[in-house]
Symmetry: C2
Subunit: 206 residues, 2 copies
């Protein structure tokens, strides 16, 4: 798996959820089609009259998620940029590759849509069908910093094995210190809550 694979999965799911934040700081979420994925870029479009459009222009931060039929979920966070050059050509290409759009926006109505691209961000692929679960993080484009949620067992570990015994995914290895297999971790917090010496910390606070 790599970032392009995750983006391809979003394109295959096609109808994915796009979240934005409005001027009052509240989230909004709607189903949007992923129109084109290529060269680690994701393209979509929306009409200039929609609240979604207004929110994107005021605050380009988006969070996308979708689930395929194999119980694999993809999550993306990044910034959506409006494409200002070659507007009509982009819309024409989007309609060519997604002909069902003509049913909603027939004829020249298509040009009320503006094209957007997400060319940098973070991706997570989460496979709930495997046991233990499997997750991986990727960045694409200029985005280099990966946010790392979840937990870490620090050197204060007394190797008592409590964390290993409570982990619902058997994602903890007996080691010195004990070690969380991050790719199998639910981030549920059971190890964190049950460690008798509080040696487990949040990765993003470490």
């Amino acid at each position: 798996m790599n970032a392009q694979d995750c983006l391809n999965m979003l394109r295959e799911i096609r109808d994915v959820a796009f979240a934005t934040v409005d001027a009052d700081g509240r989230p909004h979420n709607r189903i949007i089609d992923v129109m084109i994925v290529e060269n680690e870029k994701l393209y979509f479009c929306t009409a200039r009259g929609k609240d979604f459009y207004k929110e994107l222009i005021a605050n380009p931060n988006v969070a996308i998620t979708g689930l395929n039929q194999n119980w694999q979920a993809v999550r993306l966070t990044g910034e959506a940029k409006r494409i200002t050059e070659d507007h009509d050509q982009w819309i024409d290409r989007i309609f060519e590759e997604n002909p069902s759009m003509n049913g909603v926006y027939p004829g020249d109505a298509r040009y009320i849509l503006d094209p957007f691209v997400i060319d940098a961000g973070q991706l997570e692929c989460f496979d709930l069908s495997s046991h233990p679960i499997h997750r991986e993080y990727f960045t694409f484009g200029a985005e280099k910093d990966v946010q790392t949620p979840g937990f870490l067992i620090t050197d204060s570990c007394i190797e008592c094995g409590t964390c290993q015994s409570v982990c619902p995914q058997n994602a903890i290895e007996a080691d010195s210190p004990y070690r969380i297999r991050q790719d199998a971790c639910l981030h549920c917090g059971l190890c964190y809550e049950n460690c008798p010496v509080s040696c487990i910390v949040r990765r993003d606070e470490n």
Copy 2:
């Protein structure tokens, strides 16, 4: 259709997208199971170690969306409240009605989950399979104010018919003034952009 029908649709879709806003004002989006819907309330749960949990406690505003196999999308905005009474009984009931949860959180691991309820908010049902499209808004619980996106033709209308001719969904009736059938409107903005006397306004700015 009513609010309960929309909530039932989210329960039937079951794996829906939940958006939250983090401490930096950025959106996050992930697939979450709708666990119980009854009496115009929607129940879900999440583990205390997750970023999702942290975000919900700090900012209870959520936006949910899901799409069923008949191309009907439901959107919900509201506040998620953590259920503090009868914690274990709620989790037990959730697992009883959603037995596949035992595969992810076997045995007592389930109690790392906290139950949440959304008992008030706004709903939109959007049917993309009908032509023209069909949308309806509902509120549930204590939420009484419906946000009304989209456009309105004001009394300055000169009845030229331009808006009607450009509408991709034939959602505008010749009347005095011309009238948008709100339940068939895409909110695309073509009428708004093309009105020669700028008599069309955003409903939420009127």
